[in-house]
């Protein structure tokens, strides 16, 4: 029981982290049709900036300053580069951000080197908060969870309750009408792009010290974020939340399950004695295939429900 609770907790933590990344991506995608390939690069930049800032003035200031710098970088990218590419269509925008992904990765290597940097959990949060049946839960993990849930509540209430949020929502579906009401739609786009990047940066600040801050972290997380927004339904914030938590829990659960197909077959009373290739296939445990589970989910979703969980159009 404790183990299940623990896994769920970790899954939720990972899921909320994925949501912080995917919410920005899906907002930008739903609003502008821009698929930002470099989104996970901003996540990486968040971690590196936090490392640099916390080295001089501490972790808590970094938590606020790093996302702000990232928001500024993102807004500049939108204003000076994406807007120029916009006239060539969405695929060109995606291609540009693909190039940006390479540029950011190389710049990070240029400035901070190719090996992981020593970005650690702050000492005052590096203790066991509570423990159940021998497993301790780190205070920092709880802190991350609280911050990400708080972020979610703030984001949701800003989008649904405030005037700015209503303008953003209106610009999502009816940009022409919003613009004829006198709102500066390109500016709204720029702000949303900056906001999305800042969310990714915040995720980087929070997760960089536990996942490891290194130049390959963008490539290892980026594709999963894409899976999240396809599974959740393109442009749907609710879908992104559900899909993030789903994938978070699936992945953390799978890692702790040491069962294979062979175990199940033996459980119902059969025994298989086949040699060669198939033997290896049925002996694979769930924890071994954990890395491909999100992508398997993507394929199944595409076959059986192409619009995603909460989407309103087919992929």
């Amino acid at each position: 029981m404790d183990v299940i609770l623990f896994t769920l907790f970790n899954g939720l933590l990972y899921g909320m982290l994925l949501f912080m990344l995917s919410s920005g991506l899906t907002l930008i995608f739903g609003m502008m049709g821009v698929l930002n390939f470099a989104h996970a690069s901003f996540f990486m930049l968040g971690a590196y900036f936090a490392y640099q800032i916390s080295k001089y003035i501490g972790f808590i200031p970094a938590l606020f300053i790093a996302p702000l710098i990232i928001a500024f970088c993102g807004a500049m990218v939108e204003k000076y580069a994406l807007r120029r590419v916009h006239k060539f269509g969405h695929v060109a925008e995606l291609l540009f951000t693909f190039g940006l992904f390479y540029i950011i990765e190389e710049l990070v290597q240029m400035i901070w080197g190719k090996v992981p940097v020593g970005y650690h959990v702050p000492e005052y949060m590096d203790f066991t908060l509570f423990s159940m049946s021998g497993m301790g839960y780190q205070a920092y993990a709880m802190f991350t969870l609280v911050v990400s849930i708080a972020m979610f509540i703030v984001l949701f209430s800003v989008l649904t309750k405030t005037r700015a949020g209503l303008i953003i929502q209106a610009a999502l579906t009816h940009p022409e009408i919003v613009s004829s009401l006198g709102h500066n739609v390109p500016k709204v786009f720029m702000l949303v792009f900056g906001l999305g990047c800042a969310l990714a940066g915040l995720a980087g600040v929070l997760a960089g010290n536990t996942l490891g801050t290194e130049p390959s972290m963008a490539l290892s997380l980026g594709p999963i974020v894409f899976v999240v927004i396809v599974v959740g339904g393109l442009g749907s914030l609710k879908g992104a939340l559900v899909a993030s938590i789903l994938i978070g829990i699936v992945q953390t659960t799978a890692i702790s399950l040491d069962y294979s197909i062979n175990n199940f077959i033996e459980l119902i009373g059969f025994s298989v004695d086949i040699e060669s290739l198939w033997r290896i296939l049925i002996d694979l445990t769930i924890s071994q295939i954990a890395p491909i589970l999100p992508y398997l989910l993507l394929v199944l979703m595409l076959i059986f429900r192409p619009r995603g969980l909460f989407g309103n159009r087919d992929v």
Binding site: L35, V91, G99, I103, P291, I292, V315
Partner: protein, 422 residues
């Protein structure tokens, strides 16, 4: 008919030049390079069937390239251990083509409902899945080490063992010409035209009675088939295949080649494949920042010249056809614009190289060689020189680029009036 002979003779000339090349550049480095170029030309042109002709941006086309490579290696090993019947090495691209076609049809069926960004995202998902599989299904992929093979198996017809690199080069050259010619013919068939129509306007294509998804699916499968053939040759060429050949890195490389060369034109990807393969083999030894330059070039092309290099050349076709003098009058403003850009670029490259030098090499030494000249990376002077070069480059570009654009606009307007007068 004359056109047909004209283009046919161009093909022959290219084939003859390619056949003579290894006799002139006969070092083992250039032979390896030429073989690699041949393989990547097939792969890039195949990729462009998707990107340029079909309007589908894929981040996962290396799957078919890599899986075909794995299959070929296993079959080669099987023949070597005599567990599989003999299959002539010359025909190995067929194995790759079948593997590519199979997986391409499978993946294409679920992913071609929509083109554009959604398709791109899904292709990345598939690519990551296959890459992850290579590390899980060790029995087939052998994890991070990949698989070795020996291509010298079976009988030796006419004494050709395919042991020496030169024999492999001619094999690759032959298949490269065949594959590229086939893909060129496909662009001219009704199917190729339909593929273009679906790229440009899916709604209209659907209204005249074509299943948009079916056309995309067929284009996807065909493109994967040729990518598979290239993968087979890749495996034969290196006698080794590793997980990186199915990864997103390989997919990104082929995207760079196709797009920088020019996705809109049939020759663009060939230019891109030759150029980038050459630069990759030579520059990667000279500079640490090669990928940064590649990324910057790519983003620059996306922003300023979405037609790629081929697009820039094709842009001047009508001017050259109307009046050669007009083209010559463009040379001067172009030279001015290009030289001002180069001034800025030299400054930028200098700064990047010095930054890399400072972050990667021990802080004590300060001598860095940039453009065959020694600079002191710790001294203020060398930084000032390069920053000044950047500023001068930007300043001159602001003056010369409008000039170049103006003269192009002028030339094209002359062409337009000539055409309307006729």
């Amino acid at each position: 008919m004359i056109n047909f002979f004209k283009s046919f003779s161009t093909w022959i000339i290219i084939a003859v030049i390619a056949a003579i090349l290894p006799l002139i550049f006969d070092s083992s480095f250039s032979l390896t390079l030429l073989s690699k170029m041949g393989v990547l030309i097939i792969f890039t042109v195949a990729y462009n069937m998707l990107l340029g002709q079909g309007g589908m941006l894929s981040f996962g086309h290396a799957i078919y390239f890599g899986l075909a490579g794995y299959a070929s290696i296993h079959i080669l090993n099987g023949i070597g251990e005599e567990t599989l019947p003999y299959f002539p090495t010359v025909l190995f691209p067929f194995i790759g083509a079948i593997v590519g076609l199979f997986f391409g049809s499978l993946v294409g069926y679920v992913s071609t409902r929509r083109a554009g960004t959604a398709f791109a995202m899904i292709s990345l998902g598939f690519c990551e899945m296959v890459t992850a599989m290579t590390l899980i299904f060790v029995i087939f992929f052998n994890g991070e080490d990949g698989i070795q093979t020996d291509r010298m198996v079976g009988p030796e017809p006419f004494g050709i063992t395919f042991g020496p690199q030169i024999e492999i080069y001619y094999l690759i050259l032959f298949w490269c010409l065949v594959a590229v010619a086939l893909m060129y013919i496909i662009t001219k068939t009704p199917f190729g035209r339909m593929s273009n129509a679906v790229r440009d306007n899916p709604e209209r294509a659907a209204f005249i009675g074509y299943s948009v998804r079916r056309v995309r699916w067929q284009a996807f499968a065909l493109s994967s088939m040729f990518a598979g053939a290239a993968g087979s040759l890749h495996a034969l060429n290196y006698e080794h295949i590793g997980f990186e050949s199915v990864s997103v890195v390989q997919s990104g490389a082929v995207l760079f080649m196709a797009f920088i060369g020019g996705a809109g034109h049939f020759l663009g990807p060939i230019v891109g494949a030759i150029g980038l393969t050459y630069l990759d083999s030579t520059l990667a030894d000279v500079t640490e920042a090669w990928l940064l330059y590649l990324g910057l070039t790519f983003s620059g092309i996306v922003m300023f010249a979405p037609g790629g290099l081929a697009g820039l050349i094709v842009m001047h076709g009508p001017i050259a056809r109307t009046d050669k003098k007009l083209l010559i009058s463009l040379i001067k403003p172009y030279c001015l614009a290009i030289s001002s850009v180069i001034t800025g670029l030299i400054g930028l490259i200098g700064i990047i190289e010095m930054l890399y030098f400072r972050s990667l090499i021990s802080k004590g030494e300060g001598e860095v060689v940039i453009f065959w000249t020694e600079f002191n990376a710790n001294g203020i002077m060398s930084w000032l020189i390069f920053i000044a070069l950047i500023l001068v480059g930007i300043f001159l570009s602001k003056k010369t680029f409008p000039l170049a654009k103006e003269s192009w606009d002028h030339a094209i307007s002359v062409v337009k009036t000539e055409i309307s007068n006729e």
